[in-house]
């Protein structure tokens, strides 16, 4: 269909149970937090609605790739419902479909207490499986060990199988040999999911005769039928670091235990110091979160909850990425070395660089609308969390953002006379100027102005009352406070740190050693902070360094640095949440919800946007096809260049090399790059971050638009990333343009990514799809007299409830025997 005129015909084919069928309309939807779904509209026929009864027919939708050619996957799922509608003008049957990964939620887990009866009725809630220890601290510690290696076939004592009598005590950190071809993908946090799965399996196989449904049906379905675990990946740039940073867990007394079995620390829990305390915190926080998943939950939902509690998320791609199995490779010689990535487990990064496939170039959309609701944007935030009883005040009332609010609170302390310069020695002495709390009498009697040298009390004191002092920028925009629900893990972190400090069992260091890696990073963060914020009336003001959480003299503990940074990051999220919008444009199978996106304007007179892609819908009819995209947290490119907007969680800034401080020969800071604009080191990391999972690099707004003129840069594509091209308006004899910048198809060429092919699916799943083509539907035909469809030939015996018209059923006892289930 490739055309340089943008007069396109897009082939899209629909297969039900491997048979191509005609359709009048298809709609495919993908949204953050959900598996993809589809709606199919077919010509009606008697009996067509019955195909859904007691069965879930498989649905594959393919599109012919406009750039790379070949039929590629647009949706894979199964039918879960239907409807019929008819009027004078039309009639149709509509099928509702959901992605195949939704079958994982059939595996329901019951966490409630054991009944007093026997094993045979140990699941009073009718869930599929009752784990004997899943969700406990021990199982979480095990899960955070992730995967240490691949089990060899000879290592039968660690085999998770029915035939292993010691199956309950196997090493869950070993990958089953059947997944060895994708072993590089099972590192870091995604491998915690595999470890959990291994735990669940060994627990089920231990008493296989009581877990028949899971053992004989769902484990094979998930592992072999759906090949779910062959099609999962994390972003290796981060996950390799997480894997390398495993720590021994602390016991209750703060001592490290079991050094041979260290656990992963999710990036969200990494403090500015590396101690085993973090591992203990991680486990406690995740366990705390999982306690809120309820007594009964689906397995896929449990994964979601687990990763959400670690500031991760699970993204299901309707069009899986086709990439090398080895994440370090960018190309392969043999297609057998490719894999399809359908499920991505990724850290939440809503404001990071967009992957190239999520760039919407000017010729790709026909309409855009963006709205901004400024009324609800707070002028200040304070962290609060209600999930931990008794901790609301600790988290909710003290940690404020942005920085200007913390400064105003400290100013308030001075104005109210609660602190005063003094010569009396006091632990709160800072930077050679001694402060002491004023006595109540002094506070009431004296209004002490800000000291002439401008030095304020320790930043730690900003976590007290606000004293009703306006922030500097509230003077122009008004006072709009907002309590923000902090991530649950922050509440647990504060709770644990405070308890540990109070009991003296765990020492929370205040500042990393200057010679350590974290010490150097912290110095960069501090110098960068001073370069950007250490000013008063436009001039450098060294005294403001006390307001930087990364400054040694600020008097804040390591965990408090995270809290201050989290408050600032939350403020960025609040600000960006004001702009939402949508676009509609040409069919675009490449864009993925859950990742950032850029919408590039054609003219310098129009705004361009950086946003988070929230949902994607492909609408296909007999005479039209388009893709509409909804986005949230949008920022105009002018906002990006004018404001300091934190592009990532503070805890990922370092791993992603987002914070770069340039210095002159004397060590003085000359520039600070902390955003996604003009930050080459961060951009290079982002390319690496995306390439191993999506097969494309990243795109920086400053590489798409010339921020001096706001004109679109001419682009060319090199190794999956966009690079400056040469403007060349070449026109063909047919009136089309061969310049990728000037046509929709050209734009798609620039941003395309490789999607799993139909050939690959046929080979991997041993499928034969039956096309709706003339050579298949020859005039010579065979009558298929199906007794189930023909009561005359089936002796008039009706089907029992539960039986599909289209399946043959083995006797249950035969099925169990064929699966080596011990029949009691």
């Amino acid at each position: 269909m490739s055309s340089n005129t943008d007069v396109l015909f897009q082939k899209v084919t629909l297969f039900i149970e491997g048979v191509e069928v005609p359709y009048s309309a298809i709609s495919i939807s993908q949204a953050i937090g959900n598996v993809p779904s589809a709606s199919l509209e077919l010509p009606p026929s008697p009996g067509l609605m019955d195909i859904v009864r007691y069965y879930q027919p498989k649905v594959h939708i393919f599109y012919e790739d406009p750039v790379l050619g070949k039929d590629r996957l647009l949706f894979w799922g199964h039918i879960i419902g239907n409807s019929y509608s008819a009027s004078v003008q039309s009639a149709s049957i509509n099928f509702q479909c959901v992605h195949k990964s939704d079958l994982l939620n059939h595996v329901t887990l019951d966490f409630s207490g054991y009944p007093s009866g026997s094993y045979t009725n140990w699941s009073p809630n009718d869930s599929m499986f009752k784990p004997n220890s899943f969700g406990s601290t021990h199982s979480l510690v095990l899960a955070l060990r992730g995967i240490d290696g691949v089990r060899t076939e000879a290592n039968t004592e660690n085999a998770i199988s029915i035939s292993n009598p010691n199956v309950l005590n196997v090493d869950h950190a070993l990958l089953d040999p059947k997944f060895s071809s994708v072993k590089e993908r099972w590192v870091g946090m995604p491998s915690a999911m595999m470890n959990m799965w291994n735990q669940l399996k060994s627990s089920a196989y231990h008493l296989s005769q009581y877990n028949t449904i899971l053992v004989a049906m769902y484990i094979p379905l998930i592992e072999d039928g759906l090949k779910f675990f062959d099609r999962v990946s994390g972003h290796n740039l981060i996950e390799d670091a997480v894997n390398a940073g495993k720590q021994s867990i602390c016991d209750d007394t703060g001592n490290k235990t079991d050094a041979s079995k260290p656990v992963m620390i999710p990036p969200a829990y990494r403090l500015h110091s590396m101690t085993a305390t973090q591992a203990s915190l991680s486990v406690e926080a995740i366990q705390g979160m999982l306690e809120f998943t309820g007594n009964k939950t689906g397995f896929f939902r449990l994964f979601h909850e687990f990763f959400m509690s670690s500031e991760y998320e699970v993204v299901t791609l309707a069009s899986p990425a086709s990439v090398p199995k080895d994440p370090k490779k960018t190309s392969v010689q043999n297609d057998d070395d490719l894999m399809a990535i359908e499920t991505v487990i990724k850290p939440q990064l809503p404001f990071y660089y967009s992957p190239v496939c999520n760039i919407v170039l000017p010729n790709m959309y026909s309409s855009v609308q963006v709205s901004q609701n400024e009324a609800n944007i707070p002028s200040r935030v304070s962290l609060v969390h209600s999930a931990v009883p008794g901790q609301e005040a600790q988290v909710g009332l003290h940690y404020r953002g942005p920085h200007s609010i913390r400064e105003s609170v400290l100013t308030g302390l001075m104005i109210k006379g609660l602190y005063k310069p003094t010569e009396t020695p006091d632990p709160k002495v800072i930077n050679g100027v001694k402060f002491a709390p004023a006595t109540p009498a002094e506070a009431n009697a004296t209004v002490v102005d800000t000291p002439s040298n401008g030095i304020l009390p320790s930043l730690h004191e900003s976590t007290g009352a606000s004293y009703n002092i306006p922030g500097k920028y509230e003077l122009g925009g008004g006072f709009k406070p907002k309590q923000v629900i902090a991530p649950s893990w922050l509440a647990y972190l504060v709770k644990r740190c405070n308890e540990s400090i109070a009991s003296g069992t765990v020492k929370t260091e205040e500042h990393p050693d200057e010679d350590s890696d974290w010490g150097k990073i912290t110095k960069d963060l501090h110098d960068g902070w001073m370069f950007m914020h250490g000013r008063k009336n436009g001039k450098s003001d060294p005294a403001k360094e006390l307001l930087d959480p990364n400054f040694k003299g600020s008097g804040v503990a390591a965990f408090q640095r995270i809290l201050f940074a989290a408050a600032d990051y939350d403020y960025t999220k609040e600000v960006l949440s004001s702009k939402t919008g949508s676009i509609s444009g040409i069919f675009n199978p490449y864009i993925i919800p859950g990742y950032p996106m850029d919408i590039v304007a054609k003219s310098p007179n129009l705004p361009s946007f950086h946003a988070l892609c929230a949902s994607v819908t492909h609408s296909i009819t007999a005479d039209s096809i388009n893709t509409s995209v909804a986005f949230v947290s949008a920022a105009t490119y002018s906002e990006l260049s004018n404001y300091e907007l934190m592009p990532s969680h503070p805890w990922l800034q370092t791993s992603l090399q987002l914070y770069n401080v340039n210095r002159d020969s004397s060590g003085s800071v000359t520039s600070v790059m902390s955003t996604i604009l003009n930050n080459p080191k961060a951009k290079a990391k982002a390319d690496e971050f995306y390439r191993s999972v999506l097969g494309v690099g990243s795109a920086a707004p400053s590489d798409l638009i010339n921020f001096q003129t706001m004109e679109v840069y001419t682009q060319k594509r090199v190794n999956g990333v966009l690079a400056p091209g040469t403007k060349s308006a070449t026109y063909s004899d047919n009136g089309g343009s061969d310049s990728d910048d000037t046509t929709g198809i050209g734009n798609l060429k620039l941003i395309h990514r490789a999607v799993e092919t139909r050939e690959s699916i046929e080979k991997t799943f041993n499928y034969k799809f039956i096309d709706l083509v003339e050579e298949n539907y020859t005039n010579e035909s065979l009558n298929y007299l199906d007794p189930r469809l023909n009561p005359d030939v089936d002796e008039g015996v009706p089907l029992e409830p539960g039986a599909s018209l289209f399946l043959d059923y083995p006797e249950t006892i035969d099925f169990l025997k064929s699966n080596n289930i011990q029949v009691i």
Partner: protein, 71 residues
């Protein structure tokens, strides 16, 4: 497909003509359709059901036949 009957037919019958509901399998597709419609194969191993495939092939024939309201 063990319990089905295949008979050669030239041309398309009118729906309902034979008094029984049949599915038409073009001769060229007889070897392409799945070799099972066992429930566990089709659900656990995610194989295609030959019965359902046969029905859908018949559906296609019906939709594209000269008797279809869509022509």
């Amino acid at each position: 497909m063990a319990d089905t009957t295949l008979t050669t037919n030239i041309g398309y019958p009118r729906p309902g003509e034979t008094g029984v509901r049949t599915s038409l399998i073009p001769a060229g597709l007889a070897k392409k359709i799945s070799d099972t419609s066992m429930a566990d194969e089709c659900f656990v191993n995610q194989r295609f059901s030959s019965r359902l495939q046969a029905f859908l092939i018949g559906y296609n024939n019906s939709i594209y036949s000269e008797y279809s309201v869509y022509l």
